[in-house]
């Protein structure tokens, strides 16, 4: 398995999208590319399983290294472990679904698809790079298209939202860059290489400075309280596919970075700051949930609930146990699929009713059973129904968090547990109001989902159910990766 394919394929797709002539060909090219990525992600998954089955116990598989900038010790170093494979699968799912739901984009179709594919390129590159410089490079690639996607194809206060999002994310990545440079210049090998760094012991003084820089920098991406305010505005102004990518992929870049970069190379720093991380993430969980209760716009509801759900990711990382970290990664995958689906459904509803205000619609189940069924499924997933992915991830985080016997972490876990009630409240408020009750006048002629929407929803639902019904495969995939981090931590 050649990992460069994961970068080349989106690149080729992007070029193809630029070269073809009309909108229809653009869509076909993008869909073909997304499908190929989808297939490739599964090929990677099975190649990974096969390699592990043959007894390859290396930390990273399929490693590749090209010298990029030798005098600065920067190399194009790729490799995957279970965590990366899980994130790549997530990306592939979201990309294909995102391409499918944007089938009706008419404004500057070519540019739209180009940016989507570019974003996916950044995400793939980010997840497979083992060199921090390359990682940062791909992170930036993934940020910029979002600005344009929101600014050009968005709705509502799109300029404000696009500016806010781009500035906050750029601010986050600036912190990341400073942190990376700090690590780079303070380690004895002057290296950007993740594996090499993980072998070194970075001085504790450096960790005390660089860990918060990196963690907060990545934390901005994954809605670390109080730097989460780009989430609601950004998500609600973005076009459907944009929201899906933003919540499904971009927010995961941050979580992955917090885990793989900040915590992995600076475990002592993580230990020192664990208390703060836990406090902030619990605040994010509860406060996001309560703030969601008051929202009236479907997209805002999902955006705030993302703040709450991403709090679990950070909580899992902050708790620093193998189980909780596994749970954090599972929550990333689960939330990625779920929130992408949620935004897709909201997009579908909006396209038909031309409103996203919960108060302005009711009884839609009568007119569009498929879409509303999907809404129910995703709502139930969000509130953690067993059999769907959300439950598995949250429970793993809880179980992992509870492994600490100290009172502080106990209280934090209990508070986080309480959020599942609040989640139930706001999800049910939104879903039952939209779906049930008497049909709003004027909506009698609405049509149900079209083929592309159905396909997109089914793909994401398949992912959600695959995790929810049989979580062991994801657990087996992720937990060795978490184990490695824990070993480094206990060393």
């Amino acid at each position: 398995m050649n990992l460069s394919l994961l970068i080349l394929l989106p690149l080729l797709t992007a070029v193809a999208v630029l070269l073809v002539r009309n909108a229809k060909q653009v869509k076909v090219a993008a869909l073909a590319g997304a499908t190929a990525q989808f297939v490739l992600a599964f090929v990677l998954l099975f190649a990974y399983y096969k390699e592990r089955a043959t007894g390859n116990a290396a930390q990273m598989l399929f490693e590749q290294r090209y010298n990029w900038f030798p005098s600065w010790h920067i190399s194009f170093h790729l490799g995957v472990d279970g965590i990366s494979v899980a994130m790549i699968l997530l990306t592939a799912f979201v990309v294909i679904a995102g391409v499918l739901v944007s089938w009706n984009v008419t404004k500057m179709t070519k540019e739209f698809y180009f940016l989507l594919i570019l974003l996916s390129l950044g995400a793939y590159g980010f997840f497979i790079s083992l060199d921090l410089f390359i990682l940062f490079f791909f992170l930036e690639i993934a940020v910029i298209p979002k600005y344009l996607l929101i600014g050009i194809w968005g709705s509502g206060k799109k300029e404000y939202a696009a500016n806010k999002l781009a500035l906050m994310l750029m601010g986050g990545s600036a912190l990341v860059l400073v942190g990376l440079l700090g690590v780079y210049f303070s380690n004895s090998a002057q290296s950007f290489d993740l594996l090499q760094l993980s072998q070194l012991n970075i001085p504790i003084q450096t960790q005390m400075i660089c860990f918060p820089l990196l963690f907060v920098g990545f934390g901005v991406f994954t809605a670390l309280f109080p730097l989460h305010t780009w989430v609601p505005d950004g998500h609600s102004s973005a076009p459907t596919a944009g929201s899906m990518f933003l919540a499904g992929i971009s927010m995961k870049l941050g979580g992955y970075g917090c885990l793989r970069v900040a915590t992995y190379i600076m475990p002592e720093g993580a230990k020192e700051y664990a208390t703060i991380i836990i406090v902030l993430s619990v605040i994010a969980i509860l406060y996001g949930a309560f703030a969601t209760m008051m929202q009236k716009d479907l997209k805002y509801i999902n955006a705030y609930s993302s703040v709450s759900h991403c709090g679990f990711v950070l909580l899992g990382i902050g708790m620093l146990t193998k189980t909780s970290m596994t749970g954090a990664v599972m929550q990333m995958v689960s939330h990625g699929l779920m929130t992408a689906l949620f935004f897709a459904v909201i997009g579908m509803i909006y396209e038909r009713t031309h409103t996203r205000q919960v108060s302005e619609m009711s009884g839609l189940l009568k007119r569009m059973p498929f879409i509303i069924t999907v809404l129910f499924i995703v709502g139930l997933c969000s509130l953690g129904l067993p059999g769907l992915s959300g439950f598995v991830a949250e429970m793993t985080v809880f179980m992992g968090s509870w492994q600490h016997p100290d009172a502080f972490r106990r209280v934090a876990t209990i508070l986080a547990c309480l959020s599942i009630v609040v989640t139930a409240v706001y999800i049910l408020r939104a879903v039952t109001k939209t779906a049930m009750g008497p049909l709003t006048a004027g909506f009698e002629e609405l049509k149900d989902a079209t083929w592309n929407e159905k396909l997109a929803a089914l793909i994401l639902i398949a992912g959600i159910i695959a995790i929810g019904v049989a979580p062991f495969w994801l657990n087996d995939l992720v937990s060795p990766g978490a184990e490695v981090i824990m070993q480094k931590l206990s060393r």
Partner: protein
């Protein structure tokens, strides 16, 4: 050993029905879905009976003790060493008994619904949901792992949610399904935290290991659980109490019962299945499942169970006396009866004669499932006939609905504890157990049993006697064979189920328990029951103003019970006023104004600063030159004199 495949098929067949009807029902099985669902469940029922027979009479008993068999176990999610969620099947007396109860009642409801729901637009969806519920409930009862039970617990909750909200265009149904889900969810958080506590100390999630660890004082797990304490209560007691909160939520125990009466918005067969016979006893089942831990290691938690059960039984019985919606009366009666089961567990001890309460509780669960399902289905037939839930629209129906009348009467006698109907035997055992171990609870139970007889016959006389109802529209009869057959079968069950020697099969420690029958002891409850019946007859058999007078003489109490002791209002106050206004709204406000305000202030601050410093970029060359020279001089000074 039992064949695991057969047992696994019992829950999986309804699941298959759910998937098939849920995905394709709308298109391909518009009319046949009822038959499909019923057939699948029939197979399940047969398998369940076969399994129960095999367990009780063939392989279950070793050396006179019923064993806990685990024929199937599959690791589903490994958390850490030893701690994993396993999907498995446990076979012991209570799970075998529950398998039979759930499949049987579910089958009855499936058949009944063929008639009741006929012509409904979403017929396939209805059967799909029934299948989902049955699957979840069966999965719950055979769970071998405490987390597995939690998983199915949630699934049961969601299927209940879906079925309560089945008539989704009725706003009251929507509100009710939301309320049911959220209230039980709240309780489930307690359950979840309880699981976390228990699993942390015992180092496992598996029921058998967990019970073994936490009941033997020499294990490390027991020691740590008993030693750790919070506000003077040991972690073990906390864990069990929290698990019980989960059970109390699902079983509608005071004060988490508020969802149950509202849940009656669902179709009546669903109320019979979920909110009377099966799901609501899940809490009782959960306590029974962990009973050894409760009884041996934490008597405090167990007495909590007992008192909560007793209080719920009394309060529900009081409220039931004044309600006018027949399904609500039945709902409160359900709550009251479950209170019985709970306190029966609460007064029990582990093992031997002292374990009578456990047996009695399970026995009552069994008989209650029969007669309460029957009551609901009978009420369903009445509602089907009269198109109303209100007592005032009914009366004199015995002429129009003869079969319903007879079966309903049998059920009422059974619940009132009149010998020789099923309820008499199980209630007798419960009262005996309470009498022996906790006099307070005994007296509460005795009063409740009198009230039960009164409100049930109030219901009975109001429906079938009293004034002449003005039945309008065409007379459709009793709803045909599909609706009558379950009534008759359940009536037979309600009449004779009491003669099963339950203690031989189900007891707290698996050993055979002989339940003695004390004639002198049963005089008091039976007399009270009969008194309740006669009072109800005197007041309601014919139309008169006695009830109003009676109500007027007790106006304060009457009003309080009529308004269900204002518990709903208290909850509304807490949720709307406190949670929404004091937490939710400020959170949203803070986010919009303070957190977001800070972000915007940063943005605006940057802009303001740039507004200030942009004056330097005046476009005037000479100014630039001056800045340049001054800076050069400044830098030169800096480098020469300061930065040696």
């Amino acid at each position: 050993m039992p064949n695991a495949t057969y047992i696994a098929l019992i829950p999986l067949l309804p699941l298959a029905g759910f998937l098939m009807l849920g995905i394709f029902g709308r298109k391909y099985f518009k009319n046949t879905s009822g038959i499909i669902g019923t057939t699948l469940l029939l197979v399940s029922t047969v398998l369940a009976l076969y399994t129960a027979y095999g367990y009780f009479f063939e392989y279950g008993k070793v050396d006179g003790i019923y064993q806990k068999l685990v024929p199937l176990k599959y690791t589903w999610l490994q958390f850490s060493e030893g701690v994993s969620i396993d999907m498995g099947i446990i076979l012991d007396p209570i799970s075998a008994m529950m398998l039979v109860v759930v499949t049987f009642i579910s089958l009855m409801v499936h058949i009944y619904s063929l008639g009741y729901m006929k012509g409904d637009e979403r017929f396939p969806v209805y059967y799909a949901f029934l299948g989902l519920f049955t699957f979840s409930m069966l999965g719950l009862v055979v769970s071998s792992n405490i987390f597995q039970i939690y998983i199915f617990w949630e699934l049961v909750g969601v299927s209940s949610f879906l079925l309560i909200g089945y008539y989704y265009d009725k706003p009251s149904a929507v509100a009710a399904c939301k309320k049911a889900f959220i209230v039980t969810r709240f309780a489930d958080v307690g359950f979840l935290i309880g699981i976390l506590i228990l699993s942390f100390h015992s180092g496992t999630l598996d029921f058998n290991t967990l019970i073994a660890t936490l009941t033997s004082p020499e294990t490390a797990g027991y020691k740590s659980a008993a030693a750790a304490s919070f506000i003077g209560v040991s972690a073990l007691t906390w864990g069990l109490a929290l698990v019980f909160i989960g059970g109390a939520g699902k079983s509608a125990m005071f004060p988490l019962h508020i969802w149950l009466p509202d849940a009656m918005e669902g179709p009546t067969p669903v109320s019979a299945l979920i909110h009377a016979a099966t799901m609501v006893v899940a809490g009782v089942f959960l306590v029974a499942r962990l009973f050894p831990v409760f009884a041996i290691s934490s008597p405090n938690a167990l007495s909590l169970v007992g008192y909560v059960g007793a209080i719920s039984a009394l309060i529900a019985a009081l409220i039931a006396c004044t309600q006018t919606d027949i399904k609500r009366v039945l709902a409160y009666s359900t709550m009251s009866q479950i209170g019985y089961m709970m306190f029966a567990l609460g007064v029990s001890k582990y093992g031997g004669e002292d374990g009578l309460g456990f047996t009695a509780s399970m026995f009552h669960l069994f008989t209650h499932a029969m007669f309460k399902a029957l009551l609901f289905l009978g009420a369903g037939a009445v509602i089907h006939y009269i198109h109303s839930n209100e007592m005032k629209d009914m009366g004199g129906l015995r002429k129009y609905l003869p079969i319903t009348h007879i079966t309903f009467l049998i059920a009422c006698l059974a619940i009132a504890g009149v010998p020789p109907f099923a309820g008499f035997f199980s209630k007798e055992e419960i009262l005996l157990a309470a009498y022996e171990h906790n006099p307070t609870i005994y007296w509460i139970a005795l009063i409740t049993s009198g009230l039960t007889a009164f409100y049930m016959f109030r219901l009975y006389f109001n429906i079938f006697w009293n004034k002449e109802a003005h039945v309008h529209g065409e007379h459709k009869g009793e709803g045909g064979f599909a609706m009558m057959m379950p009534l008759v079968l359940l009536a037979v069950g309600a009449a004779v189920a009491g003669f099963i020697p339950f203690g031989h099969f189900v007891s707290s420690d698996g050993k055979r328990l002989e339940t003695a029958f004390h004639l002198q002891f049963s005089i008091a409850p039976v007399a009270l029951g009969l008194a309740g019946i006669f009072i109800a007859m005197w007041m309601y058999k014919t139309e008169n103003n006695k009830p109003d007078k009676f109500a007027a003489s007790l106006s304060g109490l009457y009003k309080a019970t009529y308004h269900k002791f204002y518990i709903d209002e208290i909850y509304t106050f807490i949720t709307k006023k406190i949670i929404f206004n004091l937490i939710g709204r400020p959170a949203a406000w803070i986010d919009k104004n303070i957190v977001d305000g800070l972000v915007n202030a940063t943005g605006n601050g940057t802009k303001d600063i740039s507004e200030i410093i942009k004056g330097f970029q005046s476009g005037k060359v000479q100014q630039y030159a001056i800045y340049f020279l001054v800076s050069v001089i400044g830098l030169a000074l800096l480098f020469i004199y300061w930065w040696k």
